[in-house]
Symmetry: C2
Amino acid sequence: MMEVALGIDIGGTNTVFGCIDSEGNCLVSGSIPTQQHDDINKYLDDLFELVDVKLKEYGGVLNIIGVGIGAPNASYYTGTIENAPNLKWKGSVPLVELIKQRLDVPVIITNDANAAAMGEKVFGAAKDMNNFMVITLGTGLGSGIVVNGDLLYGHDGFAGEVGHMIVRKSGRECGCGRKGCLETYVSATGVKRSVYKLLARHLGDSELRDIPFSELTAKMVAEAAGRGDLVAHETFSYTAQMLGEVLANVVAVTSPKAIFLFGGLAKAGDILFEPVRETLEKNLMPIYKGKIQVLPSGIKDNAAVLGAAALIWNKK
Amino acid sequence: MMEVALGIDIGGTNTVFGCIDSEGNCLVSGSIPTQQHDDINKYLDDLFELVDVKLKEYGGVLNIIGVGIGAPNASYYTGTIENAPNLKWKGSVPLVELIKQRLDVPVIITNDANAAAMGEKVFGAAKDMNNFMVITLGTGLGSGIVVNGDLLYGHDGFAGEVGHMIVRKSGRECGCGRKGCLETYVSATGVKRSVYKLLARHLGDSELRDIPFSELTAKMVAEAAGRGDLVAHETFSYTAQMLGEVLANVVAVTSPKAIFLFGGLAKAGDILFEPVRETLEKNLMPIYKGKIQVLPSGIKDNAAVLGAAALIWNKK
């Protein structure tokens, strides 16, 4: 038998899983819709039925040594998903316990940014680092912070909410109920909001004037910037500068060796990375200057599933 | 023989030491001037000669199992003091190595805020906490952060510089060479600066108008506030609000169970603590609300020496 960790990424639309060996190879994989059942047990029936099918197809030679899960609003300490706004299962869902009833192995759950950080440490570009941070730039801004070689969970399991540091008093409305949180500026959604702010302020031409708010994506803004659109370009500068300034403050708390930018928005590349690096460096306290790298993820494919599986492999 | 840790607090004026047992009792203590010798070896000769004298006076029954040191600009990883602006010894001073040559036991050095945090954990009010933070409010603002039961050092040993988070872009000049750092507002010096800013802005009576900048102390401001002086009172509100806002952002990074306020300014009591608590709570992300305590230190006397000794006892 060959040892693998089962990595599960629970997204709002699909749940993707993979059996990952100690080298980060994905030997079998599959996915099911996340929201087909109101009953969490039926969802888990579907999921583990498919896992079994896939294991048999592979010849029955894989031995699952543990299950790692990345999920929204997941609590590492309690093993539960808590009131996730984008999932059907309401209240507190004891996912770890329910999975342990099906599979008698260690089960670890955490949010997707923490899983991404662990993926980077076990399989990615942070293999030799004990202090670093991953910023996930998707619809929101998540953060996974590794200190002394382990994830920083804090006393309640909810450390690492860099996206909810307030950067502008009385700033943009945030989904968390407050105003001015970093993720209202620095995220795919933040980029869209910044485009419309700039279109409102300036009179110059921009191809973005022809696109309604509800149809605009951060990718379209990045592409427009690549074609020389000034509004799109200024949007990325503004976004990156705000991120660089906040990261300089986070460095004063945790002093990481590297900061990885991860997720859809990070695919914009240099147009994002360069001004982030420049602003970070300019704003760092002298003792930190020249020491902190801003890097893309070292994981090419299956990042979410690899990150989930890394929760198990990191403990081996 | 009875086991003790030798705790040493190196201040700009005096170096204080104490032999601390595992319960936090200070069995022998003493102090020497810090700046009498340009040669670090002569300073250490004086220091250890006095330690020997005190040990003999106590009957020669104490066995030093380790030396913990709190010092400005101390690097935990390298065991050195690096370019401390307030000390005579310039460049990189290999203090741990020099002490090990005299005493063959574990020697740990760190900055005074980290020592204070460890003192709180081993002997103070954080005995049952694995995730908390100590803010030292003296001439500057220091911070010692404990996560997963250990001090947060970061990749280079310099994590925990909350006093140098930038809170006002283009704000007050800071000794670090930048502008708008938290400690230019929240510290004994910051309080003085705020008094003069308010005196410049407002016309109302204040007893503080009769005191020159160079003579004013934060203690005088606290006492004036106690007597109902409005400028003094507003100064403390302003200071506490700024601290509360920043702490809400730091909580989003490390999620501590408690935040201890420590040092001279913390002696102001409720006039500082109450508005800090109120502003922190108001600015916290919903998931953290009602969970985080703002507390005074649980250590009454010899805090600096106890903190230094705690570096050793924590490792036992």
